[in-house]
């Protein structure tokens, strides 16, 4: 992939659909566009059906003999259990409003990536098996037989959808392709047809508490290492607590931020913030090694698997006897928390309705799940002047904000992150309106597609986002893309590197703690990344540090 230049990639994208109809255009599974098959060990860990070695490029997928029966039964079962599935199969009029809303369609030009066609892949089989018109009229009614090629096509395209829900914003009936993809993936999982980038994190999370498979002692080591780093740049030693019974708040966040840059700086940000709140206000926040994952790749497998992973959050909060749970910056984690958690594993009546003990603010909107988003929490602290901030420490940054799909369209957290950014950075610029807020574009790697083998898919799908960043880079000199999602922090750097070099990626709490004046900190010259924190163009270091308003003093 890396050998294909951006101009070459874009030149290949052709929006003219093939002359043959989509049912008559065979799908070719192409390298760079798919993720490797699930390893049998990971599938077996969860006790999911048909663990085996198989390869998407092989003709033989080693399916069970009665695979067709399993799928049709699975469809029937889901049609009875989900109104969404039934309605979304029945009422689409194929108006096409969704067609060019999909980042994968825009980036690849592949007409089967139009949300309407993605859904038709499944609908055609639904009509054939479950509707009279389909049974009688067949192809004229848009019905087709479920064949091995159809199954392979499902697999290819349901793992080319990041469940971002952008199309559902535009659909006049609210048809949600994420829901259709989720159904499609549940069906594929009945045959053991998951991808490894989902199956292995799921197995890891199930056994060790997080997607990365970080064992408890290693988790502590990693955070200790961050504490060293923090001490180097700020002169302050932070002391995170783990699995602490009787703490006020349990904190849970994606393990991705503990694992790789630049998410690690966001993790350091959390640690600094908790230290600050402990020292200033006596707030006791604990991390958990058992519940060391906020994300939930079960969401990309099946609702049952999602439930099996999610249940740890409440279980651990109950065991530790905390008041409520604080959740870190993560995208699909918040979809799971907002729209599934309470239904699946609630009611969490052993927790208290969340109140910020420092400001007294009641988080009324979270009174049932008892989970507060850290950006809501921080916004509340800033609003009540509980954080001492020096935004000039972020003067070297010109920031724009990428709304992550799930907090935007599965939650509606749009203004809180903007409020926080504007309070800690002086230079903030919005991307164009059609690319942010509820119309935001996916990073191109969501829903478990953030592997390395599908890099071409990721870079193509990320084009609309990257292009909007490029626009503000050219117009305002933006050099930092802020986001509130761990997958974003892992995948946007290579995306930016490819399409918009010289734009870096950050979590919001890295920006917050860059600006935060920590009691006892040394004179700060560099940020958490070890970069100079002053804007060299505007003022020299001498002048900067002798300024009367220099707050690092």
């Amino acid at each position: 992939m890396a050998d294909l230049k951006p101009e070459e990639l874009i030149a290949r994208t052709d929006f003219t659909p093939p002359r043959t109809g989509w049912m008559d255009t065979p799908t070719v599974i192409r390298e760079g566009m798919f993720c490797y098959a699930a390893k049998p060990k990971s599938v077996a860990t969860l006790g999911l059906p048909y663990p085996r070695e198989w390869n998407p490029l092989d003709d033989d997928w080693k399916l069970p003999e009665n695979w067709k029966e399993i799928i049709i039964e699975g469809m029937k079962d889901r049609l009875e259990r989900f109104r969404t599935f039934k309605i979304f199969m029945d009422i689409c009029v194929r108006c096409g409003a969704c067609a060019d809303k999909c980042h994968f369609f825009i980036g690849t030009g592949d007409p089967k990536n139009m949300p309407v066609v993605r859904a038709e892949l499944l609908r055609s089989v639904y009509r054939n098996e479950f509707t009279k018109a389909g049974k009688i009229l067949g192809k004229i009614a848009g019905a087709r037989e479920l064949t091995l090629d159809v199954l392979k096509e499902w697999w290819y395209y349901f793992f080319q959808c990041s469940e971002c829900r952008r199309c559902s914003v535009f659909c006049p009936y609210g048809i949600d392709t994420a829901e259709i993809t989720m159904m499609g993936r549940e069906l594929l999982n009945l045959l053991g047809l998951n991808i490894d980038w989902i199956a292995t994190p799921v197995a890891n999370c199930y056994m060790t508490g997080n997607h990365m498979g970080i064992q408890p002692q290693a988790f502590v080591d990693m955070l200790d290492f961050f504490a060293d780093e923090i001490e180097d740049t700020t002169g302050v030693r932070v002391h995170p607590t783990y699995n602490k019974k009787g703490a006020d708040i349990l904190f849970t966040t994606p393990s991705g931020d503990v694992f790789g840059d630049p998410g690690t700086y966001t993790a350091m940000g959390y640690m600094i913030l908790f230290h600050y709140l402990k020292v200033k206000y006596g707030l006791d926040v604990t991390w958990s090694t058992f519940n060391s994952e906020g994300g939930n790749f079960g969401l990309f497998t099946s609702n049952e698997v999602m439930k099996r992973l999610n249940i740890k959050m409440y279980a651990e909060a109950k065991r530790l006897g905390v008041k409520w749970i604080l959740g870190g910056e993560c995208g699909h984690m918040w979809r799971a928390i907002t729209q599934y958690m309470d239904t699946m594993n609630g009611p969490a009546d052993f927790l208290e309705e969340p109140v910020n003990p420092i400001t007294g603010t009641k988080f009324e909107n979270a009174k049932s799940t008892k989970m507060v988003h850290i950006v809501e929490f921080t916004a509340d602290l800033i609003k009540h002047n509980k954080l001492e901030l020096d935004p000039s420490r972020n003067d070297n940054l010109k920031v724009t904000f990428h709304d992550s799909c799930n907090p935007a369209r599965g939650m509606g957290m749009l203004d809180e992150p903007r409020y926080v950014i504007k309070k800690v950075c002086k230079h903030f610029y919005e991307m164009p309106r059609n690319c942010i807020r509820e119309q935001t574009f996916c990073c191109g790697s969501g829903s478990g597609l953030n592997a390395s083998e599908d890099m071409e898919l990721r870079l193509s799908g990320g084009l609309p986002r990257a292009n909007a960043v490029k626009y503000v880079q050219e117009k305002h000199g933006v050099n930092m893309l802020a986001c509130i999602c761990a997958i974003d922090r892992a995948v946007l750097p290579p995306l930016m590197g490819y399409w918009v070099p010289e734009v870096d990626v950050t979590g919001i709490h890295e920006l917050v703690t860059n600006a935060l004046i920590i009691p006892g900190e040394k004179e700060k010259t560099v940020n958490l990344r070890g970069e100079d924190i002053l804007n060299k163009d505007e003022v020299g270091p001498e002048e900067y540090y002798t300024r009367p308003d220099f707050s690092g003093r």
């Binding site: 279980a315 049932s368 609003k383 369209r409 509820e438």
Partner: protein, 333 residues
């Protein structure tokens, strides 16, 4: 010529010939004027009710509304009460705007990749505009036709007629709704035929109702303005149908039976087709649920029991390492 719309066009032409020949050659007025309409109405009502009931009775395991605006959170952040409705009132307004004004479709954009590459998104109002025109003119046409089924025409219908015919062109005066309906249906059809992307995913089932509705509009317009059917006879027939004393008056032209046959086919086809979006739009769980899932627990009627990996099992797996790292444990070694 694309087979998908060819099939649909042929089907509608065949329907026309069946009705025309049936009446003109075979004299089957009673079949096309009474029996088929009755069957069609029954099919429509029963089919529609069964379908909607089936949807309505299906469980909604999870509340998954698409949030299209700012959530209700901190008191000083202004929530989007309609696009991210926390309350039932907000949901009602959201649904009303969706159903009456096609709010989501109003957001439609088209995307273009320009040199650079530079991607642009332009507000695409035509689909929204013509869809709205199509549905509302259809509604007005349907309401206007109620005069055929009522002994006395209520005042509101007379006013509607006046508004509809305000242009006062021609004799009988041109009714705007019929013209708009035909124009909008043709727009929607041409869009499907001419835009290659839309043509790509359109099915015969998308062309058929459009051709049929165009057939209904054309036959209706023919009757009103050109061939002039015996309107008194028509009213006698329609009143016979609604009062369950059906009979066939003499002298109604075949074009009328063609019109009625098209409508009958549309009604009978309705519950088995995508036209059921009329009922489904009310039940779409991404639009008709409150976005308050963190404040109020949504119940899944079939919430499954699942196997979990407990903390105790986890500690058993890692106890030694946890103690080594100074982590508290429930059970010592």
């Amino acid at each position: 010529m694309n087979e998908k719309y060819l099939y649909s066009l042929i089907a509608v032409i065949a329907l026309f010939l069946v009705a025309y020949a049936g009446v003109e050659a075979a004299g089957l007025q009673w079949l096309f004027g009474i029996i088929i309409p009755y069957l069609a109405i029954i099919t429509f009502i029963v089919g529609f009710v069964v379908r909607v009931k089936d949807w309505a009775c299906s469980p909604v395991p999870f509340a998954i509304p698409t949030t299209c605006g700012q959530q209700e959170s901190l008191p000083w952040i202004k929530p989007s009460k309609i696009d991210n409705p926390f309350s039932t009132g907000g949901v009602i307004i959201r649904m009303a705007l969706e159903i009456l004004l096609f709010r989501s479709l109003f957001r439609n954009t088209t995307c273009k990749i320009n040199e650079g590459p530079r991607i642009s998104y332009v507000w695409e109002k035509w689909l929204w505009l013509f869809s709205l025109a199509f549905h509302y003119s259809f509604l007005v046409v349907v309401v206007r036709h109620l005069r055929f089924f009522l002994e006395h025409v209520p005042v509101c219908f007379q006013i509607l007629d006046k508004i509809d015919g305000f242009l006062q062109i021609g004799l009988p005066g041109v009714m705007l709704s019929g013209v708009v309906l035909l124009a909008a249906a043709i727009f929607l059809l041409l869009r499907r035929i001419l835009i290659s992307q839309v043509r790509y995913f359109s099915l015969a089932a998308d062309f058929f109702p459009l051709f049929l509705i165009i057939g209904i509009a054309v036959s209706g317009i023919m009757m009103r303005y050109f061939t002039k059917v015996d309107i008194v006879g028509v009213k006698e027939l329609t009143m016979g149908i609604v009062t369950f004393r059906p009979h066939i008056p003499d002298g109604i032209g075949a074009i009328f039976y063609v019109h009625v046959f098209f409508v009958s086919v549309l009604l009978a086809y309705f519950p088995f087709s995508k036209l059921m979006h009329l009922g489904g739009v009310f039940l779409s769980p991404t639009r008709n649920l409150r976005c308050n899932t963190r404040a109020h627990r949504h119940i899944n009627p079939w919430n499954p029991k699942v196997k979990v990996h407990t903390y105790a099992e986890y500690e058993d797996d890692f106890r030694e390492k946890m103690i080594g790292a100074g982590l508290p444990v429930e059970k010592e070694l």
